[in-house]
Amino acid sequence: MAGTKQVIVRVKRQAGPKESARWEEFALKWRPSMNVIICLRDIAENPVTRDGKKTTPISYDSNCLEEICGSCAMLINGKARMACSALVDKLEQPIRIEPMSKFPLVRDLTVDRQFMFESLKRVKAWIPIDGTYNLGEGPRVSPEVQEKGYPLSNCISCGSCLEVCPQVNDKNQFVGAAIISQVRLFNMHPTGALNKSERLAALMGPGGIQECANAQNCVHACPKNIPLTESIAEVNREVWKQALLGWLIG
């Protein structure tokens, strides 16, 4: 490939959860507006390392490629971000690509983020409608509430906020900022507010909101710019109010 511009990529490989990890380096042909997904596809089409060794295509999750499905979160040059919007020209080389570290590894860059979906169940992240039969319009919602709620509802469950949170670790099952922000969203909705107290209660106890140590990494890592720290502060107040009230009445 003499004479053509190259992209050097280093990928952390691991064949399975119990296998040991190793790094592989690849030299790819540069093209304009290349992103990390294109790099991974190039490798799949020609799975040969920089030093000429045959290897296997890299296992990774991806789907929409426009940063709205949340699939392709990984560590790129040490930063938790979506691979599809990670443009090669804006990255320092060699580009280091690793799986997120806070979720169980499946293979290579693929991790298991089921924990996030289980947490959504734990906090009842839904509106409790009576049924799908015709019951007329929903409650009126002011544009102000909509403008607050819509950004929160943009959460793509990518897991970046958990990845960067020091409170998410082997010893701690902290639900993380994304879930707390979802509680705020559903409690904000007129119908959702009907089981507000259940959601707040779900955030008490082990892994609950009190685990947050206010590092504020989450809000900087969020690819959708969700005001996560604002959500945590607001939900925290509500949780305390409810706890205190329960203690007073109790």
């Binding site: 929409c64 499905c69 699939s71």
Partner: protein
């Protein structure tokens, strides 16, 4: 929606999805969802929505079910509203509506420019609720390989592969509903997500499920070119006032913003004064191709035109279009609020799909139902913007109860089917995997896929010429031969994405032929299907549905009449009001 309806009926559901449901392709739907609620006092009605849809689809859709969909649409919006979708609101707290292509009314409810994401989330949340209550069991990270059918040709369940363990298993089910989406991957690059391969549809087709109107492929006029994906730039950009133009002078060197109005060619507005930038997608796409390839007016001689929203107040853009403008900014590093966007048409949607009856989404194989983009029922020869979200929710809402009713009326349930039926299917699928993993070949699946995409995009999208279609089919058949010699370069049995892709690719090739042969046969121009050698719609010979069948391991095209009992076909034109 189908899952929710079945769970509501108290019937257990096993839900299979390649990706976690929340990551499905519907998140990419941007602009909105149609319903004639007439909330702007314009005199919009269900009948007008129905007429716009049929007319927009160039009279190829069977009409009665489309009418029912338009009637149901306002109730669907209400339901989504009750589910908590953060739709944009008017100062009174009511839902806001915007204009979309192919209509003159504000009929499209929206949540910013990420409406599909918001709707999918609302439905996913309801499913999660049923899951938490034990009514739904999810199998995420599993892919469909084939239907399990008994000797009588009745579907008794499915055969699926776990994408982590690569284990192949069968699952009994009294009825199976498919909501497997589009097939953009057949065209290599499209606006579709990675999982939109059409593989499930193609697998079913090869098991005797008919496939209808495959040749009708929607090419969206405005997408951002990219090597991995052609990212959609929603019609809502034009719905909110965005304008499409090119410099009148092909040698124009000035920055777009400094080109005076008089030297800009707003070709859609000029050619289609009544609908302007909001002509239906097939019309806008052909106009852009004409500008670029015939008039040679593409920006800097490249295949691109401007989509300009810079004249719209920033506050409006951020409130109504932020999601899509961010995509442009993130992937191209240019702020579309300041610089006009450069866009070009891209494969976007398949109007064709699994054949279903005109009643309740049942296919021709007992026990198999289909809803959403994977079936063919609602959009005729061209889909109107913001009709896809309504059609998939309506179709799912029909399919769920229909499947329940079918299951309850079965004399013998799936569990009574002989175990040999299940074992046989599992062994057949395991055998395919073993062969693929074991074989030593010279072909790379991604290379074959790229070539398939190139030939399909070049010859089977906007402009179709018979001799090119014949060439394309010949090429696809060569790819089919080369496929037999593929080498997986990954023979492991854990999270082997190459194996899964190879399985999908085999099916994509079959579906590519269905699309190409359907296009080759249809000697007319209708909606998205355009043949310069046959430029007119030909109702006398072609007002009929293509119904492809799998006969003796090959594709056979048959035709059936279109139900036009409600609106008499009339010429379709958008240069004047209908």
């Amino acid at each position: 929606m189908a899952t929710i309806r079945v769970a509501e009926a108290g019937v257990p559901v096993d839900l299979f999805s390649i990706v976690p449901v929340k990551r499905s392709h519907s998140v990419c739907a941007q602009g909105g969802i149609n319903a004639a609620k007439n909330q702007k006092g314009e005199g919009d009605t269900v009948d007008k929505h129905f007429d716009d849809t049929i007319y927009g689809g160039d009279f190829l859709a069977n009409q009665p079910l489309v009418k029912r969909m338009c009637e149901a649409a306002p109730g669907i919006i209400d339901l989504l509203d009750r589910m908590g979708v953060m739709f944009n609101r008017t100062p009174e707290g009511l839902l806001d509506y915007r204009r979309f292509g192919g209509t003159l009314y504000h009929r499209t409810a929206f949540a910013g420019a990420t409406t599909g994401q918001q709707l999918l989330y609302a439905l996913d949340e309801q499913v999660r609720r049923h899951e938490a209550e034990g009514k739904v069991k999810k199998f995420e990270g599993a892919t469909f390989l084939s239907a399990v059918t008994d000797e009588g040709g009745v579907c008794r369940g499915i055969c699926a592969m776990d994408l982590r363990t690569m284990e192949v298993k069968t699952f009994a089910g009294d009825a199976v509903i498919f909501a497997t989406g589009g097939n953009g991957a057949i065209f290599g690059r499209s606006t579709n997500s990675v999982v939109c391969t059409g593989s499930a549809q193609a697998a079913l087709f090869q098991q005797g499920v008919d496939y209808a109107n495959g040749e009708f492929i929607q090419v969206h006029p405005t997408a951002i070119p990219g090597e991995d994906k052609l990212r959609l730039m929603s019609e809502s950009a034009r719905g909110e006032g965005g304008r499409v133009w090119v410099p009148r002078n092909p040698a124009e060197k000035r920055a777009p913003r400094s080109i005076p109005e008089a030297e800009r060619f707003y070709f859609l507005e000029e050619w289609y004064p009544k609908y302007g930038n909001l002509v239906p997608r097939d019309i806008a796409t052909r106009a852009i191709h004409r500008i670029v390839y015939q008039e040679k007016l593409g920006i800097d001689g490249q295949p691109a035109v401007f989509l300009d929203v810079t004249h719209i107040p920033r506050e409006t853009l951020d409130r109504k279009l932020e999601g899509i403008l961010e995509i442009y900014e993130k992937f191209l590093g240019v702020d579309p609020r300041v610089e006009p966007m450069k866009v070009f048409p891209a494969m976007h949607y398949t109007m064709g799909g699994i054949w279903v009856n005109g009643e309740d989404q049942a296919t021709n194989v007992p026990g198999i139902y289909a809803a959403g983009e994977c079936e063919y029922q609602y959009h005729g020869a061209n889909r109107l913007g913001a009709n896809s979200l309504v059609s998939c929710i309506f179709g799912g809402g029909l399919a769920g109860p229909a499947a329940v009713k079918y299951a309850k009326n079965l004399e013998k349930g799936a569990e009574s089917a002989p175990s040999a039926v299940f074992d046989g299917e599992r062994k057949r699928q395991e055998g395919k995997n073993q062969k693929l993993i074991g074989q030593d070949g010279s072909e790379n699946p991604i290379t074959i896929w790229r070539e398939l995409g190139d030939v399909m995009t070049e010859h089977v999208t906007v402009t179709r010429i018979n001799k090119n279609l014949e060439m394309a089919d010949a090429k696809i058949r060569t790819l089919q031969e080369r496929y037999k010699k593929i080498n997986l370069s990954d023979r492991t049995k854990w999270s082997n994405q190459t194996l899964n892709f190879a399985r999908e690719l085999e099916n994509m090739i079959v579906l590519a032929r269905v699309i190409t042969l359907g296009a080759l046969a249809r000697n007319e121009s209708r909606g998205a299907h355009y043949k310069p050698d046959f430029p007119e719609r030909d109702d006398a010979n072609w007002l009929k549905t293509t119904r492809a069948k799998w006969v003796n391991n090959d594709i056979q095209l048959t035709y059936e009449p279109v139900d036009i009992s409600l609106i008499k076909p009339r010429p379709r034109r958008y240069d004047a009001a209908k």
